[in-house]
């Protein structure tokens, strides 16, 4: 009897094994096509044998197809809108806010409110009320907002070695700022006996939210309360260039230019030239991005040239009414939208499964850095590092970068990410250096929140209007047009005629509706 039971058990067990094997074989994979924003587009896609494909298939039941979107935003829009017109959008895709709004109107992206509860791991660091508001239109969420790039990552820096040599203190007000710039220009701070230095260095760097003189002058404009393109307060919303304080700010910039304390090449310099100039010790104060300043590779030429040179973070100077700001910042997100086609095909649940796995501890490290021992290691302090793994596969190597191409879908600017990406190093004279030394200080300085201004629709005559304003402002500070109250009023009046007033009116309505005004 016992033998019969035993044999029966064995047969039963075998049947279960066979049945489960058949079950595995017939389990249908859900095909998911994902168009992602690559971390380093030119590095190339993840390899075919990437372990994440296998995990997606075997653990998540998903046949994953990836496509990196073009690196230029306009190209991304064209590609997405063309695919949308042909009703061939992928299942999930990264999309800028403007085309995303068009797709919502066309009914081509699905509501995703029902997906949030399916992603408990994502809820931890990636979704909050703010991110949900970002993708909510008329009470429904039409996209998943993932944290965007690092905010407040630039700041004013000053040559501390020059300050020390001239016996000066860190400037705190605009007047002191001017005096230090003057001393840096005329008192030979580098001690080479030549009159070859300037107080302040800049170049023209425009963004939609940082027009007029551009981003590099914002710490000065911030002292007058007019940093950035838009004033986003309820009581004073509008283009900063039209505010009376802007006129005062221009007067200050003109004073600096007339005193020749700003590197005179600023209107024509390109970003690379500007960076070459500070590495050559041409000026002593500038606004710079933290990694461009202090990442090992970027700092090396300066360190070689000036082993005792030292850039110190400088709080933005206070203006006449005590205001100060490094510049503007925006709570930015990357929107990943799910196509209506995918929702109709019942793929939402599988997409949520995929995204949630990426947010688990295992998924986060796999997508962010790769495999431990192959692409990264954990150092004595528990931090992720690229030391102690093969050179050609470490996550910062050309080959290793390919397995981190989706990292923007999981990174949320955590301490772990920052330490691994921006390690500390020693300078030529043995100082500890690293971008994070600056980042934390920059972030502690006053900034102007302009969240939402990035979503203001451009004026229909945007190119002409922008050119008129930006050129006009430059002409005033360069003395090509006399900077008088009458001239400036006429400049603003003409700006309104070209559409500035109408643009402000429309923008105010948009911002009020979206609840962005502070």
């Amino acid at each position: 009897m016992k033998r019969i039971v035993k044999a029966g058990m064995i047969v039963l067990f075998m049947l279960v094994v066979i049945a489960s094997a058949f079950g595995q074989g017939t389990k249908k994979l859900v095909p998911i096509e994902l168009w992602y924003g690559a971390a380093i587009t030119e590095a190339g896609p993840p390899p075919d044998d990437w372990v994440f494909y296998k995990i997606a298939r075997e653990q998540l039941g998903i046949d994953l197809k990836l496509m990196a979107e073009p690196s230029n935003e306009n190209d991304q829009d064209v590609k997405i809108l063309a695919a949308a017109a042909a009703n061939q959008l992928p299942d999930i895709f990264m999309v800028r806010r403007e085309p995303w709004q068009i797709l919502i109107k066309q009914g081509l992206v699905a509501e995703v409110d029902d997906m949030y509860p399916l992603m408990p791991h994502r809820a931890e660091h990636w979704f909050n009320q703010d991110s949900r508001n970002y993708t909510t239109i008329n009470g429904k969420s039409y996209g998943l907002a993932f944290p965007g790039s690092l905010q407040k990552n630039e700041g004013l820096v000053i040559r501390k070695d020059w300050l020390d040599k001239l016996g000066l203190k860190m400037p705190t007000t605009l007047d002191e700022f001017f005096d230090v710039c003057y001393a840096f220009t005329y008192n030979d701070p580098d001690g080479n006996g030549k009159n070859d230095t300037y107080g302040f260095g800049a170049f023209v760097e425009y963004f939609d939210q940082e027009m007029y003189l551009g981003r590099r002058f914002d710490p000065i404009m911030g002292a007058f309360g007019v940093a950035g393109t838009w004033n986003m307060t309820k009581h004073d919303f509008g283009l900063n260039v039209k505010k009376p304080e802007y006129y005062e700010a221009l007067q200050f910039v003109k004073k600096m230019i007339d005193a020749k304390v700003i590197d005179p090449d600023w209107p024509s310099l390109k970003k690379d030239d500007f960076r070459a100039a500070w590495k050559q010790g041409k000026f002593g104060i500038m606004r710079e991005q933290f990694a461009a300043l202090a990442a090992a590779a970027n700092y090396a030429p300066f360190d070689k040239n000036f082993p005792n040179g030292e850039w110190a973070a400088l709080p933005p100077p206070k203006g006449p009414s005590g205001k100060s700001s490094v510049g503007v910042y925006d709570m930015n997100y990357r929107i990943y939208a799910v196509s209506t086609k995918a929702a109709k095909a019942g793929k939402k649940e599988a997409i949520a499964r995929l995204l949630d796995y990426m947010a688990t501890d295992e998924g986060y490290k796999l997508i962010g850095w790769g495999i431990e021992g192959v692409n990264y290691s954990i150092d004595a302090n528990g931090n992720i590092s690229d030391k102690g793994v093969p050179e050609d596969t470490k996550f910062s190597s050309p080959k290793g970068q390919t397995v981190t191409q989706l990292r923007n879908m999981v990174f949320y600017n955590s301490e772990m990410e920052l330490i691994s990406r921006y390690p500390y190093f020693k300078t030529a004279n043995g100082r500890t250096m690293g971008p994070l030394l600056y980042l934390k200080t920059f972030q502690s300085f006053p900034w102007t929140n302009v969240t939402g201004s990035g979503t203001i629709k451009p004026h229909p005559n945007n190119a002409d209007l922008k050119r008129y304003i930006n050129q006009g402002v430059q002409e005033f500070v360069l003395g090509k047009r006399p900077l008088t109250k009458e001239n400036f009023a006429a400049f603003v009046a003409q700006m309104d005629k070209l559409g500035a007033a109408e643009w402000e009116k429309t923008a105010r309505r948009e911002m009020e509706e979206a609840g962005y005004l502070q």
């Binding site: 971390a39 073009p70 690196s71 064209v78 590609k79 030239d273 990442a295 910062s396």
Partner: protein
Amino acid sequence: MTSTIKLTRSDRVFHIFIDAALALILALLIIPIWSTLTLSFQPNDFIGSALDGMILPPWKWSTAAYKALLGHRSFLSAAGNSFRIFFEGVITALFFTVPLAYALSIKTLPGRKLLYGIVLVPYLFNPGLVPNYLLVTKLSLTNTLAAVFLPGAVSVYNTLIMKSFFEELPEELKESARIDGASELTVLLKIILPLSKPILLTIGLYYGVHFWNDFFNAMLYINDAKLQPLPILLRNILLSSGMNEYVEANAFGEAPIYAIKAASVFLAAIPMLVAYPFIQRYFVKGTMLGSIKG
């Protein structure tokens, strides 16, 4: 005994003026090329302006950017795809353009005016992005290299130049072949084409340069990274420092990103730079022969 023409003072002044003007034009053409070339050889620890870089002695040049690019799988695969698009595109384009141009050049062709009109319509009216996108996707061409060259495989402009060239060839040659019983296909293959080397090379080069440089179709229709051609990679590289300035290292290892950008521009231009001198001697002949007739 050789005789020399004696130049007058005004002739000499004129020659000096012409030589100076040509030297200036040459400098205007060479300076940006030289600037790009020297930039591509700049070492990582180079300190100095772009102008300093241009006078950097060659023994201080670094080949890191070229080594990084030529050793990078994305670059090699993109270059391979671009060569395929170039050759397959040119062959396909000539395959379609030559018969069309020949047919249009036969004055006795029934319905020639109608055919001419049909050819001219798309030249004058562009259907736009979406119909093209739908056509390419309906033909299942997405994610194939053909999607890059097939939509532009027949250029009306090139067809008309070729048609004019064919019309210039002596009618007697074609007639004699026809009298001997040759079909139109035989006339085209045995009589016309052997005489059309200049125009085939010229139009082939027009097509080739267009396909080699085409970014838009590749961006639109190719989703598989392994099929992306050089212009896509080049654009990614050129945009990289703007996009990835937070990134601690670029995708090409130790070489500086500006050198990578310049080197990639240079490497992408080399095939065309090499091809032009060989084809140049046919170039003027090919385009000018048919230029009298419209």
